[in-house]
């Protein structure tokens, strides 16, 4: 059991992981305090819909009213990215959470029991893995109807097979360990062995992958939203904001970077969010790698 003090110390020592930690903490603070940082205007009904300041198409540059400017349709970018942090966390945690659950259950059943159960589950994962992930996700979203919820459903459906495989492999390796055999020798039921012994020991690589994937999920959700298959127009979601910027990436001739804020600012938020989780995930991997001695 890694001493949590040791974990925190290792995280803080390494400058890269420290940066990751700081980034994530900043995002968490933004998400929690979103109503304070970007207050919803009076009378505005649904906080997740970005308030509009007019109906003009062209994005406006940053000024005192709109710190980050406005994007197509005069949606406030600042409000959008701040509340978008909440959406990002929602999507990421829900998708990864359900994926972990499904993947762990199926993966551990397949790995521990082997035989026909293993074969069946593995064939099912094979079917899912046969499709290119993003294409399958797009198809699912298109079938259900675009919305953030369908994005989450689609991403979950596409993501769980890799977790199932990962856990299955780790449990397969663990299965022959002495302490598992000793447990069976004591009379433990299979459920007990899996839940109490196998999973707690096998779960670390999966948790590492999960922390790395949080960033990847947000990126994928943003990609789907950018293509118009995600959140509805005006929803506070980073991907949605980038989809607004689609037509304004290159400005009028002579001023190609005129509307840089429309695409760069949501893009930067996505970048730093994913970077933070990646660094954190890498740091976790270094800490929990059993081959690295505690030196």
């Amino acid at each position: 059991m890694k001493d949590w003090r040791f974990v925190v110390r290792q995280l803080v020592r390494n400058p890269l992981s420290l940066m990751g930690l700081i980034l994530i903490v900043i995002f968490i603070i933004i998400a929690i305090f979103a109503p304070l940082i970007a207050p919803t205007p009076e009378g505005h009904q649904r906080p997740y819909m970005i308030p509009r300041d007019g109906y003009r198409a062209a994005p406006e540059p940053p000024d005192e009213d709109h710190i980050f400017g406005t994007t197509q349709g005069q949606y406030d970018i600042f409000y959008g990215v701040i509340w978008g942090t909440r959406s990002a966390f929602q999507v990421a945690l829900l998708v990864i959470g359900i994926t972990l659950l499904v993947g762990l259950v199926l993966g551990s059943l397949a790995g521990y029991f082997g035989g026909i159960i293993d074969e069946v589950i593995m064939r099912i994962t094979d079917i899912f893995l046969a499709f290119p992930a993003l294409i399958l996700a797009m198809a699912i979203v298109a079938a259900i109807g675009p919305s953030l919820r369908s994005v989450m459903i689609a991403l979950t459906a596409v993501w769980w097979p890799s977790y199932a495989r990962l856990i299955r492999g780790d449990i397969l390796a663990l299965r022959e360990e002495d302490y598992i055999e000793a447990s069976r020798g004591l009379g433990a039921s299979s459920a007990r062995v899996i839940l109490r012994h196998a999973l707690p020991n096998a779960i670390y690589p999966t948790l590492i992958m999960a922390s790395l994937d949080i960033g990847a999920v947000v990126l994928a959700a943003a990609a789907l939203s950018f293509l118009g298959l995600g959140a509805p127009e005006g929803y506070a979601d980073w991907g949605q904001l980038t989809s607004f910027a689609r037509n304004w990436i290159v400005g009028p001739p002579g001023e190609p970077l005129k509307h840089w804020y429309a695409v760069t600012i949501p893009g930067l938020f996505i970048l730093f969010f994913v970077l933070g989780w990646n660094l954190l995930g890498d740091a976790f991997r270094d800490i929990f790698d059993p081959r690295l001695a505690r030196r």
Partner: protein, 348 residues
Amino acid sequence: MNTLVDIRRLKKYFPIVGGVLRRPVGAVKAVDGVNLTIRRGQWLGLVGESGCGKTTLAKTVVRLIRPTSGHVYFDTSDAVKAEIEALESAGKNNSKLTSLLKENDVATFSGKRLSSLRRHAQLVHQDPFTSLDPRMKIKNIVAEPLTIHKVLSGHAQETAVEELLARVGLSTGQLERYPHQFSGGQRQRIAIARALATKPEFIAFDEPTSALDVSVQAQILNLLKDLKKEFGLTYLYITHELLIAESVCDHIAVMYLGRVVEMGRPEDIFHSPRHPYARSLVAATPVPDPKRRIGHIVLPGEVPSPANPPPGCAFHPRCSQATDECHESAPVLEPVGDDHHVACFHPL
């Protein structure tokens, strides 16, 4: 009943699959027909080198492995055993036989009977570094059998765990620690405490001291002696070191390539071994006495693979006394003295 464990014609073959269709192409004959009885209160040593099947045998006796064929009787009356034998030799595969076997033969146990067996027969593993779950506190490790069999719970359980740990020589106040915070010897003590939790009658030990230092080994052996006396236990003790077996066991069985080749009292095996392999084993064991050098009866060659054992007597290719008879048929254990059995056509 004096006999606690009765092993009859036990065989365990591990199939080797090969080819594209993964058909069984052969088998590793880990245990190849073993007959063994362990009396109540006995300390039986099972001695042999790697590949002889001793670990497989022990694990089969406590049903961590299912045997391929043969019977293992645990605390079964002679009458019942006789009845089973009679029904079997009569060749009839009737339901009476099946139900008798389900009741009495460890090999066929399942469900409640198996669970009940686990309370009475336990195994301590060889490597104390891998036999304890590294993510569990030792109080939970030792309490696990109590929880599984719903013997004790809550406060009573905790007291019992404390007592067990104290009994095996670990100081109090260590309940909240994890295995990696203990030394090898201490971990093995924890494993022993875990095995004792449900007050079993029979404990099998798979080379419990081979991963430990000499001084620690002595401590564990003395601990085992005390525990045996205090709780009236029966031990099946596996080791590849003859010296240990000779010094603590009251009976020894020597195994080679899945079969028992000699059985007897320690003095007999050590001073007058009758099987050529047992003699080589004794002669090859180094003792800390510069005057007693290993005699030049060094055994040539290597142990054959149990996937491809020699026909007839498994030892004959390396045996200096081998004859044609040894090549054709396998010898069985015959008495050659007071409580001394040898499986050899030409015992020394």
